[in-house]
């Protein structure tokens, strides 16, 4: 087994983990009941899968072309930084625009805190 075959096996393993995470997140998109749980599926699993796939691509180009691809490093860092922010913004806008939770949900702490804040801001009442 020469060096090229070892690199190919490592790349295939990275790609396998990434693809499995992506298809599992798609199954979650179909099966989960409301927006917040679906956001859990799409943002976490797709980000993990994409990072593994980009890592596999980086390893491939590093060892077969012997080139350090700066664009791939930039892409990995950018996705790693921005994907959680995008998921958080989308979910927060869903909660602010009053998308209902699923029937089986048991608690909504953000709504409780928002209600408390609104009570504090009512006129005639000193803010603490």
């Amino acid at each position: 087994m020469n060096a090229g075959a070892v690199i190919e096996v490592i790349v295939i393993l990275c790609m396998l983990v990434g693809t499995a995470a992506t298809i599992l997140s798609s199954i979650g998109v179909i099966r989960l009941p409301d927006v917040y749980t679906r956001a859990h599926a799409t943002t976490k699993a797709t980000t993990l899968g994409l990072l593994f796939i980009l890592l596999g691509t980086f390893i491939y180009f590093l060892f077969t072309h012997e080139k350090v691809s700066v664009r791939l490093i930039l892409g990995i860092i950018f996705v790693y930084l921005t994907a959680p922010v995008a998921g958080h913004m989308a979910t927060r806008s869903a909660h602010r625009s009053r998308v209902a939770l699923a029937d089986i949900s048991v608690c909504d702490d953000l709504q409780r805190d928002l209600d408390l804040e609104q009570q504090d801001q009512e006129p005639g009442k000193a803010r603490v």
């Binding site: 693809t19 992506t22 798609s26 799409t42 797709t46 892409g75 921005t82 994907a83 995008a86 806008s93």
Partner: protein, 95 residues
């Protein structure tokens, strides 16, 4: 062998893309659902471009990864802010 395995990964990613597009056009999904799914579609397309650049053995497609990533992030942020307050860019700060 290596190439066929890469093609099979591409096929699985295509299935995942089709599922996301189906969920966008489903009648019962809300607008926030669609924003999240557009985000995840952009990530799936980035993954497909990366695998395609391995199959074709070229580095020319790696610019597209950065471009699609930035466009997907900005469009998600803009759509989320639009749903939240009805404006994308706030002109006046404060109360």
């Amino acid at each position: 062998m290596f190439e066929y395995i890469m093609y099979s990964f591409l096929f699985i990613l295509t299935i995942s893309l089709v599922i996301a597009i189906y969920r966008i056009f489903k009648r019962s999904s809300t607008t926030s659902d669609r924003v999240l799914l557009i985000d995840s579609i952009s990530y799936i397309i980035i993954a497909m471009v990366a695998i395609l650049s391995i199959i074709m053995d070229t580095e020319a497609y790696l610019d597209a990864i950065l471009l699609i990533g930035i466009l997907g992030f900005l469009s998600t942020i803009a759509l989320a802010r639009f749903i939240e307050r009805g404006v994308v860019i706030e002109r006046r700060r404060g109360d």
